[in-house]
């Protein structure tokens, strides 16, 4: 499998504090990759470097062969991103926000209209689509942000804690959508604390602690059942 996301010897320092230390990972096309770690391990920092929100102190992050920092526009063309906090433009409605995101990805208006209707159905957004961002609950914001990340049919989806604030029904909905999209060739890099999600969805995982990878599966493993992952995670991160 050719790597779609490559993180090459990436280090990120904030002053003298090393948040991510010489990280090296490759994720192949269509792979569902779980990125685990305790609080403050460097998960969100890594994700922010992959999406171009942080500049690495050294090393590089490549999406489909393009460096996110030296060649950002082609790299981000195939990128969808769900941040840990689903911040929206408060004065725009959900529909307007989706139009906005599609505009940034240069999608034709006629296609956008159809796609928005499709995602209203997929994530059961309903009439909330025409309410403003400032009127949304956390769960509704999360649905809009997920729609925004998927609506332009990205090749790579980077998700930071995708199920925060979602009720059980919405969580199921999101898991089903993500699972289906990986079978269609979408590469997913997901950071989460929820081990049961990882057990259920991910093909491969890595665990990060204090900025360093302490565990990485080299190939898909059938080891994640009956709470084995939890035991392993607690053992490795204690």
């Amino acid at each position: 499998m050719s790597p779609t996301v490559q993180i090459r010897n990436v280090t990120k320092k904030f002053g003298s504090f090393v948040a991510v230390d010489n990280l090296d990972l490759s994720i192949g096309k269509g792979e569902f990759f779980g990125f685990l770690g305790p609080n403050g391990a460097g998960k969100t920092t890594t994700i922010k470097m992959i999406t171009g929100l942080y500049a690495p102190t050294s090393g590089s992050c490549l999406i489909n062969g393009y460096d996110v920092h030296t060649d950002p526009v082609p790299a981000k063309r195939s990128l969808g991103y769900v941040p840990d906090q689903p911040f929206l433009y408060e004065k725009l409605t959900g529909r307007e926000f989706l139009f906005f995101v599609c505009g940034l990805f240069n999608m034709p208006i006629a296609v956008v209209k159809e796609k928005i209707d499709e995602y209203i159905d997929i994530f059961e957004i309903g009439d909330f689509i025409d309410k403003r961002g400032e009127e949304y609950s956390q769960g509704m914001r999360q649905r809009i942000v997920l729609s925004a990340a998927l609506i332009h049919d990205p090749g790579v989806l980077i998700i930071d804690e995708p199920l925060v604030g979602l009720d059980p029904r919405s969580s199921r909905l999101v898991k089903d959508v993500l699972k289906r999209r990986t079978t269609e060739g979408l590469t997913i890099f997901m950071s989460t604390h929820l081990l049961e999600i990882v057990e259920e969805l991910c093909d491969r995982i890595a665990i990060i602690k204090e900025g360093r990878i302490i565990y990485e599966e080299t190939q898909s493993a059938a080891r994640r059942s009956n709470g084995q992952l939890e035991t392993m995670f607690l053992e490795l991160t204690k």
């Binding site: 790299a75 981000k76 911040f87 433009y89 906005f100 940034l104």
Partner: protein, 563 residues
């Protein structure tokens, strides 16, 4: 009380940590703040001393008239502090997340009120306090006052005077929030705007500076006598009058009469503080709930603005990414009442300015005075443009807000985004500036050459101020702050404004000598020589290019910072 001290202590510690941050970037930032604030304070001090000297020694207006002018200046100062506190108080007392957090704790509501009021007062008034001190030093040094005068007047006169304006503002705000829940915030803000404009208009109509000057000058050369009988009766109940009277009697060596006015100021301040405390105990929590409920999602809002061609989902003339950013900015602006109402207010002020100068005839017979009158109008135009730039251009990048992740992770060139913001802002600023410049210079019946010079210089100034505010706004960007008014009144914004004033001062300095030469030739020889004006225009162009390149470079570089 221990809770009050604990919270203040935490806030003070955070402030101290901030100013004692010795990382190179912070040291550089703090050092540049000290240099710019210090430079401007020095400039105000020198101007204040020179203006006092000029008015008393050259123009011989006398101590009474001088202190009445001071009183008028203090009135405008009072209104500015009052309005500034009311606007910022709404954000700090009613919209702040810190208040929401504290409301969930067993802290009395009036304690939260007191903490946030102190926070708000020093946040919104610190720059004005500094300028007030510089003015005081300039004034005092002319009269050769002792050190205790400065200390006493700052602590016991200037500070209570500004505090009176601030406390009055917060009492009004608490009471008005109740009204807002009935009539709506838009109507209320429009009402407040009309009340403040009326207050300024009625004050100056009643005081009538022209009649006052004529009446006092009838007694020339005994212009230092006390002409208190010329004051309209209501003026005696205003805090600006008490402060100017305190200063008048102090420099006349009559401390007993001066202290009487000081005592009045203290009594009113104490009464207002007590009133604020009582109103806060009775009403702050209720008004906070009212304001929160008014903003709640279920409250709903009328969709009053329909602009079909700006709706998303319509084809535009720009490339798609630029088009959607433009539409987002349009709706973000017009769906935020504090944005369009402020713009409206500023346009009303511009109109008031133009109407005011339309009745003036500043064609003077002395070249230097003619130069001064031309430059004063130019400087005032520049000051208005600097204010509009600060209020609307400086916050432009901060207002990308927490949702900036959306653009940062999209395949969009940040350089193009910056350029788009710059062009949009520049078009607004340059259009307003040119209308103001051409209208004001034409109304003053200046020659076509001077109208053209004014228009060209104004275009440069608009370019310089737009790039300065956008670049500095990116450098000092605070994505967490949603309130554009707070962004435009932050420390970074104050620094930017002062830097803008320094730039404007430099432009005026470049124009003084050539303009004076132009007027000398025009008035004395009766011929025109526009060649004298080409050199300063080139110099202003070079200065503006430096400001533009520096600001844009800083803005672009900081836009790529970690988000």
């Amino acid at each position: 009380m221990p809770q009050f001290i604990l919270i203040l202590n935490v806030k003070a510690s955070a402030f101290i940590k901030n100013v004692t941050d010795f990382r190179p970037q912070s040291v550089l930032k703090n050092l540049s703040s000290v240099l710019i604030f210090g430079g401007v304070a020095l400039g105000v001090f020198l101007l204040s001393r020179a203006a006092t000297g000029y008015l008393l020694q050259q123009a011989h207006i006398g101590l009474f008239l001088f202190h009445r002018f001071l009183s008028m200046l203090l009135y405008v100062f009072f209104i500015t502090v009052n309005l500034g506190n009311m606007i910022v108080c709404y954000a700090t007392l009613y919209k702040s997340e810190e208040v929401t957090f504290l409301m969930g704790l067993p802290v009395p509501h009036h304690t939260i009120f007191a903490v946030k009021f102190i926070d708000n007062f020093f946040y919104s008034s610190s720059t004005l306090l500094l300028l007030g001190l510089a003015l005081l030093l300039g004034y005092g040094s002319y009269f050769g006052m002792s050190a205790w005068f400065y200390f006493f007047t700052f602590a016991a006169v200037l500070l209570p005077f500004m505090l009176t304006a601030g406390v009055f503002a917060v009492i009004m705000l608490m009471l008005l929030i109740g009204v807002a829940s009935r009539v709506g915030i838009r109507w209320l803000l429009s009402g407040i705007m009309i009340v403040y404009l009326s207050a300024i208009y009625l004050y100056f109509s009643a005081v009538n500076p022209v009649v006052l000057v004529q009446e006092v000058m009838k007694h020339y050369p005994d212009v230092n006598a006390y002409f208190g009988y010329l004051d309209p009766p209501f003026v005696r109940y205003l805090p600006n009058h008490w402060v100017s009277e305190f200063l008048y009697w102090t420099v006349n060596g009559e401390p007993a009469r001066a202290s009487w006015h000081l005592l009045t100021l203290f009594c009113i301040l104490a009464t207002l503080m007590l009133t604020a405390w009582i109103v806060a105990r009775m009403y702050y929590y209720k008004s906070w709930v009212n304001a929160s409920e008014a903003r709640s999602p279920v409250a709903g809002r009328p969709r009053f603005l329909q602009v079909r061609f700006m709706e998303f989902g319509r084809e535009g003339i720009l490339a798609r990414p630029s088009d959607v950013v433009l539409r987002r900015d349009f709706w973000g602006f017009f769906r935020e009442p504090s944005q369009w109402l402020h713009l409206l207010l500023m346009f009303v002020l511009l109109l008031v300015f133009l109407v005011s100068i339309s009745s003036l005839d500043l064609r003077l017979t002395q070249p230097f005075l003619q130069t001064i009158s031309y430059l004063v109008v130019f400087l005032f135009d520049g000051f208005l443009i600097a204010s509009i730039s600060l209020r609307f251009v400086f916050p432009a990048l901060s207002l990308e807000g927490d949702a900036f992740w959306c653009i940062r992770s999209a395949p969009v060139s940040l350089r193009r985004l910056y350029l788009q913001k710059f062009i949009g802002s520049f078009l607004l600023i340059v259009t307003t500036a040119e209308i103001l410049s051409v209208a004001s210079t034409s109304m003053l019946r200046d020659s076509p050459v001077l109208v053209l010079v004014g228009a060209l210089c104004t275009a440069f100034v608009a370019l310089g101020l737009t790039s300065l505010n956008l670049g500095a706004g990116a450098y000092f960007a605070t994505f967490r702050e949603k309130n554009p008014i707070r962004i435009a009144s932050s420390q970074g914004a104050s620094l930017t404004f002062l830097a803008g004033m320094v730039y404007l001062g430099a432009v005026v300095a470049l124009l003084v000598v050539p303009l004076n030469r132009y007027f000398e030739i025009l008035i004395i020889r009766g011929t025109t020589s526009a060649g004298w004006l080409a050199i300063p225009l080139v110099a202003v162009g070079i200065l503006t290019s430096i400001v533009f390149a520096g600001s844009t470079g800083v803005g672009l570089a900081t836009l790529r910072r970690d988000f």
